[in-house]
């Protein structure tokens, strides 16, 4: 039901007439379906209006109005994934685009504070000028730099720079019922450096290894840990789009791409690399992803994939080494060489032989600009499987198992044939791991149905039956209800959190969990 005049006026009073719209043309642009799991419907259900607040106070006022008018709200930063969509009638979309400031970069104490619409590229670029860096969301530097915006917040640099759940410090949170809670040192001392306490940490409420995907209020500012950067303050990119590269790899940096005879050997290698603490990035990309990253067109990608595949002996990883000094670089390089030898790793010929290509890959994997190529260029759409965050081998085994199911989909002509290799990654120097299976397909109802009813079902059954934990793709009531009984009934506790903090159900929670009463 459309907003009444009074309701519209109330929201307009908060954000100003230029920053609210219920015009169909505007709403439809938001409703265009995401490329993630694109299916039958081209547009998500119509919602009531979109508002563009500029401050936490405006967000709070909007949330309170939603509670008052018994409407729901769904907030988004860059709005890429389907979880950003407002579920339908009765929902206000909060587009946080105007909240785009870097509040603080504290070099001495290694944290940065951002609003939701600062994108990763902006934050990283500012940090690099100061000899610092940040974990970047693996989906791309076009995503929010807020450590609690993206689905999981894992990135290419997670080997040395962890991920969102671990990097988050203090947080400013507008709760679903319109309170503002400032976590940790922010609430007590007006400082951003700590998100925990006093006493128990409310960080435990606001996310796990996945975030609530818009279902638990609005995160309006957050502090994130930042890390040392030994590279140039501005990466020396040359060329014209799409053919960017650095002329050469920066001093004390190197990049390698290796395949291994088996997962056992790759696992051994990643463990050794982790325990040696030598890698800046360690990503278990496959040949298809490497080809997609380097290629500037689908034609070229097909060609490169064929070429690289010939040389792949088994699962692969890409590794970037950055030395903090000449000595450090020399040491790390020597250790890597030894590990590769010991584990039977082989460099993929022609992938990184050309230093210009190698430098380009290095930068793209540091800046995370290749993900759109790797995932979306083929068809504008992808589905697949996102694992959890646990021991590397466990996560790798899970994702390789689901990869086998992809083989069947390929045989049936339902998805793009780029092989069945998933990608894995290690973070915090091998303390954790993660895996994802990318399934690219041209959107069509048959594939969508098979993916959502067969493939995901099988993947879920595998995870539960074979004890692979709760994968990252688990969100929404149905999925939680399926997993919860096998996992300490966490779904019941999650519902209790939702109920306690969102008594009116104002925070639209299709992708989180609802109270279900």
């Amino acid at each position: 039901m459309p907003l009444s005049k009074d309701q519209y006026a109330a929201f307009e009073d908060v954000v100003g007439p230029e920053n609210i719209s219920a015009e169909p043309a505007i709403l439809y642009s938001y409703s265009w379906r995401s490329g993630l799991y694109a299916g039958v419907e081209k547009f998500t259900p119509r919602f009531e209006a979109v508002v563009l607040p500029q401050s936490t106070e405006e967000v709070q006022a909007i949330v309170r109005l939603c509670n008052k008018f018994k409407l729901q709200f769904k907030a988004s930063s860059t709005g890429w994934g389907p979880y950003n969509d407002a579920a339908g009638p009765g929902v206000i979309r909060i587009d946080l685009r105007r909240m785009n400031r870097i509040i603080e970069i504290n070099e001495k104490n290694m944290y940065a504070v951002v609003e939701p619409y600062v994108i990763g590229a902006q934050l990283q670029a500012e940090l690099m000028k100061r000899g610092l860096n940040c974990n970047m969301c693996g989906a791309g530097s076009n995503c929010s730099a807020l450590p609690i915006a993206a689905h999981q917040g894992i990135g290419h640099m997670s080997q040395s720079a962890s991920y969102g759940e671990r990097n988050q410090l203090a947080l400013e949170w507008v709760t679903p019922d319109g309170e503002i809670i400032r976590l940790g040192s922010l609430g007590s001392s007006d400082e951003w450096f700590c998100g925990d306490g006093p006493g128990p940490s409310l960080r435990g409420l606001v996310r796990g290894n996945v975030v609530p995907l818009g279902g638990l209020g609005v995160y309006t500012k957050a502090a994130t840990k930042i890390y040392h950067w030994s590279g140039p303050p501005i990466f020396p990119v040359e060329g014209i789009s799409p053919h960017y590269s650095a002329g050469k790899i920066p001093h004390n940096f190197s990049i390698g791409f290796y395949s291994f005879p088996s997962m056992d050997k790759l696992d051994e290698a990643q463990q050794k690399v982790g325990e040696s603490e030598i890698a800046l990035e360690l990503m278990g990309f496959n040949a298809a992803m490497a080809a997609a990253n380097i290629a500037t067109s689908n034609e070229e990608e097909v060609k490169l994939f064929r070429e690289f595949s010939q040389y792949v002996q088994g699962p692969c990883f890409m590794i970037i080494i950055a030395g903090n000094s000449d000595r450090d670089f020399e040491y790390k390089t020597k250790v890597l060489s030894r590990i590769i030898n010991e584990t039977g790793g082989k460099a993929i010929p022609k992938l990184l032989d050309d230093p210009v290509v190698a430098a380009g890959c290095l930068w793209r994997w540091l800046r995370s600009t290749g993900s759109i190529r790797e995932v979306f260029r083929v068809s504008g759409c992808f589905g697949g499987e996102v694992g959890g965050t646990d021991c590397f081998r466990l996560m790798a085994d899970y994702i390789y198992k689901t990869g086998q199911m992809k083989g069947d989909l390929i045989k049936r002509g339902l998805v793009y044939d780029d092989g069945t290799s998933p990608f894995t990654q290690s973070f915090e120097h091998g303390h954790f791991g993660h895996g994802e299976l990318l399934i690219r397909y041209m959107p069509n109802p048959i594939t969508f149905k098979v993916l959502t009813t067969e493939f995901l079902v099988q993947a879920n059954e595998t995870a539960i039956r074979d004890h692979y934990g709760v994968p990252g793709h688990v969100f929404g009531d149905a999925a939680h209800d399926m997993y919860g009984p096998h996992c300490s009934s966490y779904h019941l506790w999650l519902r209790r959190i939702k109920k306690a903090f969102d008594p009116q159900g104002a925070s639209e929670a299709t992708h989180y969990i609802t109270v279900k009463e």
Binding site: P200, N209, H467, G469, C487, S488, L494
Partner: protein, 488 residues
Amino acid sequence: MLDLQQLATIAGKENLIQEPNILKQYSQDCSFVNPVRPRMVIKLHTAEQVQQIVKTARATDTPLIPVSSGCPHSRGDTVPAVGGAIIVDLSEMKKIIHVDRKNRVAMFEPGVTFAELIEKVKKNGLRLNMPLLPRQTKSVVGSLLEREPVTMPKYHWDIADPLACTEIILGTGELFRTGAAAGSGSIEEQWAAGGAQKEAAGPSAASWYRLIQGSQGTMGIVTWASARCEIVPALEEPFWIASSQLEKLLEMTHWLIRLRLVNECFMLNNTCLKMILQSAEGGTGAAIGNALPPWILFFNIAGYEYFPEERVAGQIQDMQEIAQRTGLAPLKDLCGIKADKFLRIVQQTSANPYWKLRCKGGFQDIFFLTIFDNLATQMETMYRTVNSAGYPVSDLSIYLQPVVQGANCHCEFTLFYNPDVEEEQERIRRLSGDAVRNLLDQRAFFSRPYGENARLILNRDAATVNALKKVKNIVDPDWIMNPGKLCF
């Protein structure tokens, strides 16, 4: 009405303790909280027993206070705040359940102490990221749940580290496992699949372990925990750097941690170091006297499996470059104290008696989180506060522990006093309250509020208190878990 017979059936009659002398031990500690005698102490040995006790307590509205460490306690969190409470003593749950070298994790029960765990994990080539000189009776689970700062900031990615998963009996009586341990499957099934209860976050969209940490037993009773471990180095080279200028040491520390050059890394003032040395076996603290410079930075450079000598040599050179830039000189020997010897000291637990008790028999800690930028002002504030109370600044022990890979700094002041002198006790009690108040005004973040000062700290953040109460209502709806602590 509490049925003793029922309790005896659950725990075994021999594990119900009501002897006054023993109850007295639990009714007070080294802190200034009011002594309140518990009704009894129950020693439990299994999660099932804990669950039954919690359900019984719910049914009879009986407060429960979980305790896993042995005496002496010092923060007031294990002293009942209300009458009629039962102490649930888990110190005899001493199983080290599982050590996994590949995944660098260990799982253990609440009664396991640091010494016990250190020895066990070492056999697997692992080590813990430990707090500084915990007392011998300190429970590792207890320490993890308290978010005690640890001495290796490089391996402290998150304030919650090194805690991984937990099994907890919540105040509802339900058993819940946090993180990867939640499932699917039993712990054994997870091991068979290759799991190791390593991932702390989750399951799914909440990180339950964070709500349990820092809760001082007000959410439930943890029956085991897993903790991430690090590798035992093949080679270690520790160093001292001493200076009268703290800001230089902070600069040095910042770079050592930022470039990931060091394992153990912390700063002490001379008083603190002296106390530690006095307490260590064969310690020479007394002999050193006033020879120690005002501030001492201690750090350790380590090498592992691959070319450890080369790694260490290279990192030492990198460290020396930083030292030169900062105008500092690293030493292997500080006033006759060898860095290697000190490293061995700090990689173990405190000797008995606990090092903080040696000086005068009593102590009061005032600790908080801060950042380097704010330390100077906070130091000055503390000096002024102790001066006003007539407490000699030279007697003040200061321990600065960078945590969260340098994003935070744990600052710990220790005031020593004779607990047998009432006047002195009272002075320290008042001084402690004044210090907390004054430091709060200087942006100190008391993330772990204990004892008398807890309410003062928590009341600064009403929104957090409201939220915590909502959480409490979820996991402990009858408020039986350690009532009166924190904001509950």
